[in-house]
Protein backbone atom coordinates (compact mmCIF):
# COMPACT_ATOMS: atom_id res chain seq x y z
CA UNK A 1 0.00 0.00 0.00
CA UNK A 2 2.68 2.49 0.98
CA UNK A 3 4.67 1.55 -2.08
CA UNK A 4 7.16 4.25 -3.03
CA UNK A 5 9.02 3.97 -6.31
CA UNK A 6 12.13 6.00 -7.13
CA UNK A 7 11.97 7.79 -10.47
CA UNK A 8 13.98 10.33 -12.49
CA UNK A 9 12.39 13.74 -13.15
CA UNK A 10 12.51 14.41 -16.91
CA UNK A 11 10.31 17.51 -17.21
CA UNK A 12 8.49 19.95 -14.92
CA UNK A 13 5.48 22.14 -15.68
CA UNK A 14 2.37 23.70 -14.11
CA UNK A 15 -1.18 22.61 -14.84
CA UNK A 16 -4.14 24.98 -15.41
CA UNK A 17 -4.61 25.34 -11.61
CA UNK A 18 -0.95 26.31 -11.21
CA UNK A 19 -0.06 22.99 -9.60
CA UNK A 20 3.47 21.65 -10.16
CA UNK A 21 3.39 18.52 -12.31
CA UNK A 22 6.10 16.64 -14.16
CA UNK A 23 7.12 13.66 -16.24
CA UNK A 24 8.95 11.03 -14.21
CA UNK A 25 10.72 7.98 -15.62
CA UNK A 26 10.65 4.70 -13.72
CA UNK A 27 13.32 2.65 -15.44
CA UNK A 28 12.03 3.90 -18.80
CA UNK A 29 8.30 3.90 -18.03
CA UNK A 30 7.09 7.49 -18.01
CA UNK A 31 4.22 8.88 -15.98
CA UNK A 32 2.70 12.26 -15.19
CA UNK A 33 3.39 12.89 -11.51
CA UNK A 34 2.29 15.65 -9.14
CA UNK A 35 5.34 17.56 -7.89
CA UNK A 36 3.46 19.99 -5.61
CA UNK A 37 5.03 18.49 -2.47
CA UNK A 38 8.63 18.74 -3.72
CA UNK A 39 8.80 22.44 -4.65
CA UNK A 40 12.60 22.54 -5.06
CA UNK A 41 12.86 19.55 -7.37
CA UNK A 42 14.68 19.96 -10.70
CA UNK A 43 15.02 17.97 -13.91
CA UNK A 44 17.60 15.25 -13.26
CA UNK A 45 16.64 14.75 -9.60
CA UNK A 46 15.33 11.44 -8.33
CA UNK A 47 12.05 11.50 -6.40
CA UNK A 48 10.18 8.89 -4.40
CA UNK A 49 6.69 8.52 -5.88
CA UNK A 50 3.56 7.17 -4.21
CA UNK A 51 0.14 7.01 -5.97
CA UNK A 52 1.10 9.67 -8.48
CA UNK A 53 2.72 12.08 -6.00
CA UNK A 54 6.41 12.75 -5.39
CA UNK A 55 6.78 12.71 -1.60
CA UNK A 56 10.50 13.21 -1.24
CA UNK A 57 13.60 14.13 -3.25
CA UNK A 58 16.14 11.33 -2.91
CA UNK A 59 19.33 12.67 -1.35
CA UNK A 60 22.25 11.27 -3.32
CA UNK A 61 24.86 12.12 -0.66
CA UNK A 62 22.89 10.31 2.04
CA UNK A 63 22.38 7.36 -0.29
CA UNK A 64 26.17 7.12 -0.83
CA UNK A 65 26.86 7.19 2.90
CA UNK A 66 25.11 3.85 3.45
CA UNK A 67 27.53 2.13 1.11
CA UNK A 68 30.49 3.95 2.67
CA UNK A 69 29.38 2.65 6.06
CA UNK A 70 29.15 -0.87 4.65
CA UNK A 71 32.66 -0.58 3.22
CA UNK A 72 34.03 0.69 6.52
CA UNK A 73 32.43 -2.18 8.36
CA UNK A 74 34.11 -4.55 5.90
CA UNK A 75 37.50 -2.88 6.39
CA UNK A 76 37.14 -2.99 10.16
CA UNK A 77 36.82 -6.73 9.86
CA UNK A 78 33.20 -6.83 10.96
CA UNK A 79 32.64 -8.92 7.89
CA UNK A 80 34.54 -11.90 6.56
CA UNK A 81 36.73 -10.81 3.65
CA UNK A 82 35.91 -7.15 3.20
CA UNK A 83 34.83 -5.67 -0.15
Amino acid sequence: MCLGVPGLVLRTERNDLGMAMGTVSFGGIRKEICLAYVPDVKVGDYVLVHVGFALSRIDEDEAKKVFETLREMGELGDFGDGP
Binding site: C34, L70, D78, F79
Partner: protein, 362 residues
Protein backbone atom coordinates in the same frame (compact mmCIF):
# COMPACT_ATOMS: atom_id res chain seq x y z
CA UNK B 1 17.01 0.82 -11.83
CA UNK B 2 18.90 3.40 -9.80
CA UNK B 3 18.05 3.40 -6.07
CA UNK B 4 16.64 -0.13 -6.42
CA UNK B 5 19.22 -2.58 -7.80
CA UNK B 6 22.10 -1.53 -5.54
CA UNK B 7 19.98 -2.38 -2.48
CA UNK B 8 19.48 -5.97 -3.59
CA UNK B 9 23.07 -7.23 -4.03
CA UNK B 10 23.52 -10.66 -2.52
CA UNK B 11 27.07 -9.97 -1.35
CA UNK B 12 26.03 -6.94 0.74
CA UNK B 13 23.03 -8.81 2.14
CA UNK B 14 25.27 -11.68 3.26
CA UNK B 15 27.64 -9.28 4.98
CA UNK B 16 24.85 -7.56 6.83
CA UNK B 17 23.38 -10.91 7.86
CA UNK B 18 26.77 -11.91 9.29
CA UNK B 19 26.92 -8.65 11.16
CA UNK B 20 23.43 -9.15 12.61
CA UNK B 21 24.42 -12.66 13.70
CA UNK B 22 27.52 -11.28 15.47
CA UNK B 23 25.54 -8.48 17.14
CA UNK B 24 22.69 -10.55 18.58
CA UNK B 25 23.54 -12.39 21.80
CA UNK B 26 20.11 -12.57 23.46
CA UNK B 27 16.51 -13.18 22.36
CA UNK B 28 14.77 -10.07 21.00
CA UNK B 29 11.42 -9.34 19.37
CA UNK B 30 11.28 -6.55 16.82
CA UNK B 31 8.15 -5.40 14.99
CA UNK B 32 7.80 -3.89 11.54
CA UNK B 33 4.58 -2.05 10.75
CA UNK B 34 4.46 -1.96 6.99
CA UNK B 35 3.01 -4.46 4.54
CA UNK B 36 5.73 -3.56 2.05
CA UNK B 37 8.40 -4.51 4.56
CA UNK B 38 6.59 -7.78 5.42
CA UNK B 39 6.65 -8.54 1.72
CA UNK B 40 10.37 -7.78 1.28
CA UNK B 41 11.27 -9.92 4.31
CA UNK B 42 9.37 -12.91 2.91
CA UNK B 43 10.24 -12.52 -0.76
CA UNK B 44 13.96 -12.13 -0.08
CA UNK B 45 13.93 -14.88 2.55
CA UNK B 46 15.59 -12.58 5.10
CA UNK B 47 13.13 -13.79 7.74
CA UNK B 48 14.62 -17.28 7.48
CA UNK B 49 18.25 -16.15 7.49
CA UNK B 50 18.18 -14.09 10.69
CA UNK B 51 19.58 -15.52 13.93
CA UNK B 52 17.03 -17.72 15.65
CA UNK B 53 16.93 -15.60 18.77
CA UNK B 54 15.89 -12.51 16.79
CA UNK B 55 12.16 -12.64 16.07
CA UNK B 56 10.68 -10.17 13.59
CA UNK B 57 6.90 -9.87 14.01
CA UNK B 58 4.54 -8.09 11.66
CA UNK B 59 2.33 -5.37 13.07
CA UNK B 60 -0.83 -3.75 11.66
CA UNK B 61 1.10 -2.40 8.67
CA UNK B 62 -1.46 -2.89 5.95
CA UNK B 63 -4.17 -0.21 5.68
CA UNK B 64 -6.27 -2.46 3.44
CA UNK B 65 -6.23 -5.13 6.15
CA UNK B 66 -7.18 -2.83 9.02
CA UNK B 67 -10.04 -1.12 7.16
CA UNK B 68 -13.10 -2.17 9.20
CA UNK B 69 -15.54 -4.63 7.69
CA UNK B 70 -18.44 -2.18 7.95
CA UNK B 71 -16.51 0.33 5.83
CA UNK B 72 -16.12 -2.29 3.09
CA UNK B 73 -19.89 -2.89 3.35
CA UNK B 74 -20.47 0.88 3.07
CA UNK B 75 -18.22 1.01 -0.01
CA UNK B 76 -20.20 -1.86 -1.57
CA UNK B 77 -23.50 -0.09 -0.80
CA UNK B 78 -22.28 3.09 -2.53
CA UNK B 79 -20.72 1.25 -5.50
CA UNK B 80 -24.02 -0.51 -6.22
CA UNK B 81 -25.94 2.76 -6.59
CA UNK B 82 -27.05 3.54 -10.15
CA UNK B 83 -25.23 6.51 -11.67
CA UNK B 84 -22.22 6.17 -9.40
CA UNK B 85 -18.62 5.68 -10.49
CA UNK B 86 -16.81 4.06 -7.57
CA UNK B 87 -13.01 4.38 -7.75
CA UNK B 88 -10.37 2.68 -5.67
CA UNK B 89 -6.82 1.38 -5.60
CA UNK B 90 -6.79 -2.17 -6.96
CA UNK B 91 -6.08 -3.96 -3.70
CA UNK B 92 -9.41 -2.95 -2.08
CA UNK B 93 -11.53 -4.60 -4.76
CA UNK B 94 -11.09 -8.20 -3.62
CA UNK B 95 -11.45 -7.52 0.09
CA UNK B 96 -14.60 -9.36 1.16
CA UNK B 97 -17.34 -7.47 2.95
CA UNK B 98 -20.00 -9.26 4.98
CA UNK B 99 -21.66 -10.73 1.90
CA UNK B 100 -19.80 -9.70 -1.26
CA UNK B 101 -16.85 -7.65 -2.56
CA UNK B 102 -16.37 -4.67 -4.88
CA UNK B 103 -15.19 -6.85 -7.74
CA UNK B 104 -18.48 -8.79 -7.62
CA UNK B 105 -20.39 -5.49 -7.62
CA UNK B 106 -18.49 -4.66 -10.82
CA UNK B 107 -19.25 -8.09 -12.31
CA UNK B 108 -22.96 -7.43 -11.69
CA UNK B 109 -22.79 -4.20 -13.68
CA UNK B 110 -21.65 -1.68 -11.06
CA UNK B 111 -19.27 0.99 -12.37
CA UNK B 112 -16.24 0.19 -10.20
CA UNK B 113 -12.90 1.43 -11.54
CA UNK B 114 -9.30 1.02 -10.43
CA UNK B 115 -7.31 4.25 -10.43
CA UNK B 116 -3.56 4.76 -10.05
CA UNK B 117 -3.90 8.09 -8.27
CA UNK B 118 -6.74 9.88 -6.44
CA UNK B 119 -6.23 12.72 -8.96
CA UNK B 120 -7.48 10.30 -11.65
CA UNK B 121 -10.76 10.05 -9.72
CA UNK B 122 -11.02 13.87 -9.68
CA UNK B 123 -10.47 13.87 -13.45
CA UNK B 124 -13.30 11.35 -13.85
CA UNK B 125 -15.59 13.63 -11.84
CA UNK B 126 -14.74 16.58 -14.11
CA UNK B 127 -15.40 14.47 -17.21
CA UNK B 128 -18.70 13.05 -15.91
CA UNK B 129 -20.63 15.96 -14.38
CA UNK B 130 -23.91 14.00 -14.37
CA UNK B 131 -22.45 11.10 -12.36
CA UNK B 132 -21.38 10.81 -8.70
CA UNK B 133 -17.69 9.91 -8.48
CA UNK B 134 -16.51 8.41 -5.18
CA UNK B 135 -12.92 7.58 -4.24
CA UNK B 136 -12.17 4.99 -1.54
CA UNK B 137 -9.52 6.92 0.42
CA UNK B 138 -7.74 4.17 2.30
CA UNK B 139 -4.23 4.49 3.62
CA UNK B 140 -1.63 5.47 6.18
CA UNK B 141 -0.01 8.90 6.45
CA UNK B 142 1.87 8.12 3.20
CA UNK B 143 -1.31 8.33 1.13
CA UNK B 144 -2.92 11.23 3.01
CA UNK B 145 -1.17 14.03 1.03
CA UNK B 146 -2.42 12.54 -2.25
CA UNK B 147 -5.98 12.25 -0.95
CA UNK B 148 -5.81 15.75 0.53
CA UNK B 149 -4.71 17.15 -2.85
CA UNK B 150 -7.59 15.32 -4.56
CA UNK B 151 -10.11 17.04 -2.25
CA UNK B 152 -8.41 20.45 -2.64
CA UNK B 153 -8.38 20.06 -6.43
CA UNK B 154 -12.06 19.06 -6.52
CA UNK B 155 -12.83 22.12 -4.39
CA UNK B 156 -10.87 24.45 -6.69
CA UNK B 157 -12.66 23.02 -9.72
CA UNK B 158 -16.08 23.36 -7.99
CA UNK B 159 -16.82 19.68 -8.52
CA UNK B 160 -20.01 18.94 -6.61
CA UNK B 161 -20.10 15.33 -7.81
CA UNK B 162 -16.82 14.21 -6.14
CA UNK B 163 -16.55 12.68 -2.68
CA UNK B 164 -14.28 10.34 -0.72
CA UNK B 165 -15.01 7.37 1.53
CA UNK B 166 -12.33 8.02 4.10
CA UNK B 167 -10.51 5.28 6.04
CA UNK B 168 -7.21 6.84 7.03
CA UNK B 169 -5.16 5.34 9.84
CA UNK B 170 -2.08 6.65 11.67
CA UNK B 171 0.94 4.61 12.71
CA UNK B 172 2.15 6.18 16.01
CA UNK B 173 -1.12 5.62 17.95
CA UNK B 174 -1.10 1.96 16.84
CA UNK B 175 2.47 1.59 18.14
CA UNK B 176 1.39 3.10 21.46
CA UNK B 177 -1.57 0.69 21.62
CA UNK B 178 0.72 -2.29 20.97
CA UNK B 179 3.36 -1.21 23.51
CA UNK B 180 0.72 -0.43 26.14
CA UNK B 181 -1.22 -3.69 25.75
CA UNK B 182 -0.91 -6.28 28.53
CA UNK B 183 1.30 -9.15 27.36
CA UNK B 184 3.19 -7.01 24.86
CA UNK B 185 6.45 -8.61 23.74
CA UNK B 186 7.64 -6.08 21.19
CA UNK B 187 11.00 -4.60 22.28
CA UNK B 188 11.89 -2.52 19.26
CA UNK B 189 10.31 -1.16 16.09
CA UNK B 190 11.23 -0.65 12.49
CA UNK B 191 9.23 2.49 11.64
CA UNK B 192 7.80 2.50 8.12
CA UNK B 193 10.03 4.66 5.94
CA UNK B 194 7.43 6.01 3.56
CA UNK B 195 5.07 7.07 6.35
CA UNK B 196 8.05 9.04 7.69
CA UNK B 197 8.82 10.70 4.32
CA UNK B 198 5.56 12.57 4.94
CA UNK B 199 5.36 12.93 8.73
CA UNK B 200 9.02 12.79 9.74
CA UNK B 201 9.84 11.08 13.02
CA UNK B 202 9.34 13.69 15.74
CA UNK B 203 6.15 11.90 16.83
CA UNK B 204 8.13 8.70 17.50
CA UNK B 205 10.57 10.34 19.90
CA UNK B 206 8.16 10.59 22.89
CA UNK B 207 7.03 6.98 22.24
CA UNK B 208 10.63 5.74 22.34
CA UNK B 209 11.22 7.73 25.55
CA UNK B 210 8.04 6.64 27.31
CA UNK B 211 8.38 2.95 26.53
CA UNK B 212 12.20 2.90 26.43
CA UNK B 213 12.33 1.18 23.03
CA UNK B 214 14.55 1.73 20.00
CA UNK B 215 12.67 2.82 16.87
CA UNK B 216 14.56 2.78 13.58
CA UNK B 217 13.05 4.50 10.53
CA UNK B 218 13.67 1.90 7.81
CA UNK B 219 13.38 1.63 4.02
CA UNK B 220 11.98 -1.14 1.88
CA UNK B 221 14.72 -2.83 -0.07
CA UNK B 222 16.43 -5.92 1.40
CA UNK B 223 19.57 -3.94 2.27
CA UNK B 224 17.49 -1.24 3.98
CA UNK B 225 15.61 -3.76 6.07
CA UNK B 226 18.71 -5.61 7.17
CA UNK B 227 20.46 -2.38 8.09
CA UNK B 228 17.35 -1.30 10.04
CA UNK B 229 17.29 -4.65 11.82
CA UNK B 230 21.03 -4.39 12.57
CA UNK B 231 20.62 -0.87 14.01
CA UNK B 232 17.66 -2.02 16.16
CA UNK B 233 19.52 -5.13 17.39
CA UNK B 234 22.62 -3.08 18.24
CA UNK B 235 20.52 -0.60 20.23
CA UNK B 236 18.77 -3.43 22.10
CA UNK B 237 22.05 -5.17 22.92
CA UNK B 238 23.56 -1.91 24.20
CA UNK B 239 20.41 -0.99 26.15
CA UNK B 240 19.85 2.16 24.11
CA UNK B 241 16.43 3.58 23.26
CA UNK B 242 15.40 6.47 21.00
CA UNK B 243 14.80 7.10 17.31
CA UNK B 244 17.37 6.48 14.58
CA UNK B 245 17.00 6.94 10.84
CA UNK B 246 18.23 4.25 8.45
CA UNK B 247 16.28 5.69 5.49
CA UNK B 248 18.18 8.94 5.33
CA UNK B 249 18.11 9.23 1.57
CA UNK B 250 14.35 9.84 1.69
CA UNK B 251 13.38 10.82 5.26
CA UNK B 252 14.15 14.04 7.15
CA UNK B 253 13.25 14.51 10.82
CA UNK B 254 10.52 17.05 10.01
CA UNK B 255 9.11 14.98 7.13
CA UNK B 256 7.63 16.88 4.20
CA UNK B 257 6.29 20.26 5.45
CA UNK B 258 4.24 21.00 2.31
CA UNK B 259 2.54 17.60 2.47
CA UNK B 260 1.84 17.99 6.19
CA UNK B 261 0.28 21.40 5.57
CA UNK B 262 -2.08 19.95 2.94
CA UNK B 263 -3.07 17.12 5.30
CA UNK B 264 -3.85 19.62 8.07
CA UNK B 265 -5.93 21.71 5.68
CA UNK B 266 -8.16 18.77 4.69
CA UNK B 267 -8.16 16.28 7.57
CA UNK B 268 -8.51 16.28 11.33
CA UNK B 269 -7.39 13.56 13.75
CA UNK B 270 -10.21 11.29 14.93
CA UNK B 271 -10.73 8.02 16.79
CA UNK B 272 -10.61 5.11 14.34
CA UNK B 273 -11.62 1.50 14.41
CA UNK B 274 -8.90 -0.91 13.21
CA UNK B 275 -10.07 -4.23 11.83
CA UNK B 276 -8.79 -6.99 14.12
CA UNK B 277 -7.77 -4.58 16.89
CA UNK B 278 -10.71 -2.31 17.71
CA UNK B 279 -10.98 1.42 18.23
CA UNK B 280 -7.74 3.28 18.94
CA UNK B 281 -8.14 6.87 20.18
CA UNK B 282 -6.97 9.59 17.79
CA UNK B 283 -5.60 7.03 15.35
CA UNK B 284 -7.04 8.19 12.05
CA UNK B 285 -8.06 11.06 9.83
CA UNK B 286 -11.53 12.27 8.94
CA UNK B 287 -12.47 15.19 6.69
CA UNK B 288 -12.59 18.54 8.45
CA UNK B 289 -16.20 19.66 9.12
CA UNK B 290 -15.99 22.52 6.60
CA UNK B 291 -15.23 19.93 3.89
CA UNK B 292 -18.05 17.53 4.81
CA UNK B 293 -19.51 18.16 1.35
CA UNK B 294 -16.85 15.73 0.12
CA UNK B 295 -17.72 13.05 2.69
CA UNK B 296 -19.26 10.08 0.85
CA UNK B 297 -20.59 8.46 4.05
CA UNK B 298 -22.73 11.53 4.72
CA UNK B 299 -23.66 12.14 1.12
CA UNK B 300 -25.05 8.64 0.62
CA UNK B 301 -26.31 8.05 4.17
CA UNK B 302 -24.37 4.81 4.64
CA UNK B 303 -22.81 5.66 8.01
CA UNK B 304 -25.30 3.44 9.87
CA UNK B 305 -24.21 0.17 8.20
CA UNK B 306 -22.55 -2.11 10.80
CA UNK B 307 -20.94 -5.56 10.42
CA UNK B 308 -19.88 -8.63 12.41
CA UNK B 309 -16.40 -10.25 12.16
CA UNK B 310 -15.67 -14.00 12.03
CA UNK B 311 -15.09 -15.42 15.51
CA UNK B 312 -12.48 -17.90 14.25
CA UNK B 313 -9.99 -15.21 13.20
CA UNK B 314 -7.14 -14.31 15.58
CA UNK B 315 -6.18 -11.17 13.64
CA UNK B 316 -5.94 -9.17 16.87
CA UNK B 317 -3.19 -11.44 18.17
CA UNK B 318 -1.37 -11.48 14.82
CA UNK B 319 -1.49 -7.70 14.40
CA UNK B 320 -0.19 -7.12 17.93
CA UNK B 321 2.71 -9.49 17.33
CA UNK B 322 1.55 -12.08 19.89
CA UNK B 323 1.29 -14.87 17.34
CA UNK B 324 2.70 -15.61 13.91
CA UNK B 325 0.22 -16.49 11.12
CA UNK B 326 1.48 -20.08 11.01
CA UNK B 327 0.42 -20.49 14.67
CA UNK B 328 -3.26 -20.00 13.77
CA UNK B 329 -5.37 -23.17 13.51
CA UNK B 330 -7.31 -21.75 10.53
CA UNK B 331 -4.21 -20.66 8.55
CA UNK B 332 -4.11 -22.33 5.14
CA UNK B 333 -7.15 -24.42 6.05
CA UNK B 334 -10.41 -22.50 6.57
CA UNK B 335 -8.55 -19.24 5.83
CA UNK B 336 -6.74 -18.63 2.53
CA UNK B 337 -6.28 -15.55 0.29
CA UNK B 338 -9.23 -16.73 -1.83
CA UNK B 339 -11.43 -17.23 1.24
CA UNK B 340 -10.02 -15.00 3.96
CA UNK B 341 -11.57 -15.09 7.43
CA UNK B 342 -10.01 -11.86 8.56
CA UNK B 343 -7.87 -8.80 8.17
CA UNK B 344 -4.28 -10.01 7.58
CA UNK B 345 -5.28 -12.56 4.91
CA UNK B 346 -7.34 -10.14 2.82
CA UNK B 347 -4.69 -8.05 1.09
CA UNK B 348 -1.51 -9.33 -0.57
CA UNK B 349 0.37 -7.17 1.94
CA UNK B 350 -1.19 -8.72 5.03
CA UNK B 351 1.09 -10.88 7.17
CA UNK B 352 -1.08 -14.03 6.83
CA UNK B 353 -1.31 -13.57 3.07
CA UNK B 354 2.48 -13.10 2.79
CA UNK B 355 3.08 -16.25 4.88
CA UNK B 356 0.68 -18.18 2.67
CA UNK B 357 2.15 -16.87 -0.56
CA UNK B 358 5.78 -17.47 0.34
CA UNK B 359 5.17 -20.91 1.78
CA UNK B 360 5.89 -20.34 5.46
CA UNK B 361 4.69 -23.61 7.02
CA UNK B 362 1.32 -24.03 8.69
Amino acid sequence: MKYVDEYRREEDIRRLLESVAKTVTRPWTVMEICGGQTHTLMRSGIDRMLPESLTVVHGPGCPVCVTPLELIDRAIAIAGRPGTIFTSFGDMLRVPGSRTDLLSVKALGGDVRIVYSPLDAVKLAAMNPDREVVFFAVGFETTAPANAMAVLTAQKRNLENFSILCSHVLVPPAMEAILGAPGNRVQGFLAAGHVCTVMGYEDYEPIAERHRVPIVVTGFEPLDLLQGILMTAAALEEGRFGVENQYRRAVRREGNPDARRAIAEVFEVRDRKWRGIGTIPRSGYGLRPELSLFDAERRFGVDTIEAQESELCIAGEILRGWKKPSECAQFGRACTPDHPLGAPMVSAEGACSAYFRYGRPA
